[in-house]
Amino acid sequence: MSQSLKFKDLVLSSRLSCLGLIIVVVSVIMAVAFSILGARVTPYNPFVLNLQESNLPPSLAHFFGTDFQGRDVFSRVIAALPIDLGLPIAIVLLSSILGIFLGMAAGYLGGVVDEVIMRITDLFLAFPTLIMVLAVAATLGSGIINAMLAFVFVWWPPYVRLVRGGVLEVVAEDFISISKALNSSFGYIILKGILPNVLPSVLTYATLDIGTALLEVSILGFLGIGIPPNTPELGVMVGSISYGLYTYPWQALFPAFVTMILVVGFSFLGEGAREASDVKVRPYILFKTRVFGKRQEKPIPATTAT
């Protein structure tokens, strides 16, 4: 569809989202490479202890220095990527699937179903996310899968709201009622009529949300709850240093900065996508990309009717 092509162009038209895309793609490639090839892609083995080289400062041999057990911090950061990218992506994917399912049911079926689903969603939304994740993760016990379940448990409500809102908007459109009048099947209306119209907003939100999930995953690791100690995970690496912060700051700073850069990547990408899909600003971006070079003074205002 030409619509999606245009959307892609809009994402690429912003320098911010291009930068975000580069960061995301590079880190995903590194993560995939490590999970396939293992320690062969890292300069040192991230799991083998080497106590003779413990607590070395950053140098050419060890870009990010070494940690208290002599493991190369740079290698460990690469080793952390599969978990630090995989876990948030899995969380967001599962939550959005759950959200699409429940939100569609609530928005399309309406009535009692809507009421029940939305009240439960509101209940979950009232809880502060981080505290709930920490509590659930601590209850489930240590483990990557448990941490993921704890996250999904509190992560889905915004998606339900988002999808339900989108569905309600689409259902009011003429083409849905025409489709119904033409006796289209329930599945056809859902899959061909509603889903394609709801999906873009979910995708935009999810891109930003992966960054947020990554932050919270690393906070979980940092606090040492849910994610087992000694896992190569950025937050765990930062958290394991609490006593040597003044003496060996690089052991905490480098993983923390890498976390930030990863999240920045997802935020830039998501922000660019959001901006591009924003009806109010979109004419301006189109205008800017068409009239190449010279910047024109005032943008064409979008129609302000909501």
Binding site: R15, L16, A126, F127, P128, T129, L130, I131, M132, L134, A135, A138, T139, G211, L215, S218, I219, F222, L223, G224, I225, G235, V238, G239, L245, Y246, P249, A252, L253, A256, F257, T259, M260, V263, V264, F266, S267, F268, E271, D278, K280, V281, Y284, K288, R295, K298, P299, P301, A302, T304, A305, T306
Partner: protein
């Protein structure tokens, strides 16, 4: 269930004290930190969002956008660690943790929030020491959380900047600062208000990390310790208190919303927002 409403949370198995008294001891400290950093982040956030929105698609907009995106992508612990390393270790101008110097006796509790108590009693040495201890954690909290508010202010400014009623205001002959202040900024503030409740919740929960790192004796640290120690009898009330905080913030935001926006009447069903 009745105990939940009467505040009878029982005895904390770890410390042997009543959980309610522990929460009442920690809560004012957290409120002090959260409210202070909340004020900072609202001011900074609105200012940055306003600059970005009014200079849309210029270099200032780009800088402001990068600033708020980076702020929002910074992990809480990174902000706190950098703050401690830079301003408490390398340039030791602020203390790295605690609420006040132990050498200064605390003021008599009146409101419970020790800084306000010190101010009421004109206990200047304590007040200054309290502020000095407060600045780093509050700034770290504010830095991480101001991004969302800037983004909301920016996008709502973009929504109204070219709208017809701003044109009308200009056509009426209002001066440019007047238009900006009364029509553009006010609208942006309305959006920011409804969002600030969410952000208040975030700041409240971020205290789990910040208070741990700055050894701030607050509710976040208490929550962390009860989670870490599998102290569920204490954890449940703490979660309840945090949730209550978020709900109260939402309520306050709703009321402020109706005060700021003349189109919204509380309790009325047919709200027309154009």
């Amino acid at each position: 269930m009745r105990d939940l409403f009467t505040g009878n949370f029982g005895i904390d198995p770890l410390t042997g004290q009543s959980i309610l008294s522990e929460i009442l001891f920690y809560l004012p400290n957290t409120l002090e930190l959260v409210l202070f950093s909340f004020i900072i982040l609202v001011i900074v956030g609105v200012a940055i969002g306003y600059v970005a929105g009014m200079h849309f698609s210029t270099i200032r907009d780009s800088i402001a956008r990068v600033a708020y995106l980076v702020s929002w992508s910074t992990p809480m612990y990174l902000a706190a660690i950098v703050a401690i390393l830079v301003f408490a270790h390398w340039i030791p101008i602020f203390p790295s943790g605690g609420m006040y110097s132990l050498s200064i006796p605390p003021p008599q509790p009146i409101t419970g929030i020790s800084l306000i108590d010190a101010l009421i009693e004109f206990d200047m040495p304590f007040f200054l020491s309290g502020i000095q201890h407060l600045i780093l954690p509050a700034l770290a909290l504010a830095f991480v959380n101001f991004g969302l508010i800037s983004r909301a202010v920016r996008s709502s400014i973009l929504n109204v900047r070219w709208s017809t009623y701003v044109k009308t205001a200009r056509a009426k002959g209002l001066s440019e600062p007047e238009v900006r202040r009364r029509h553009i900024l006010r609208n942006a503030l309305i959006d920011a208000t409804s969002l600030s409740a969410v952000i208040f919740g975030w700041v409240l929960t971020s205290t789990v990390v910040v208070e741990e790192l700055f050894s701030w004796p607050g509710l976040g640290q208490f929550a962390y310790q009860s989670i870490y120690g599998n102290d569920y009898p204490a954890l449940v009330p703490v979660v309840v208190v945090f949730t209550l905080g978020v709900i109260i913030a939402n309520f306050v935001a709703d009321v402020a919303y109706s005060l700021l926006d003349p189109r919204i009447v509380l309790g009325s069903q047919n709200v027309t927002v154009t």
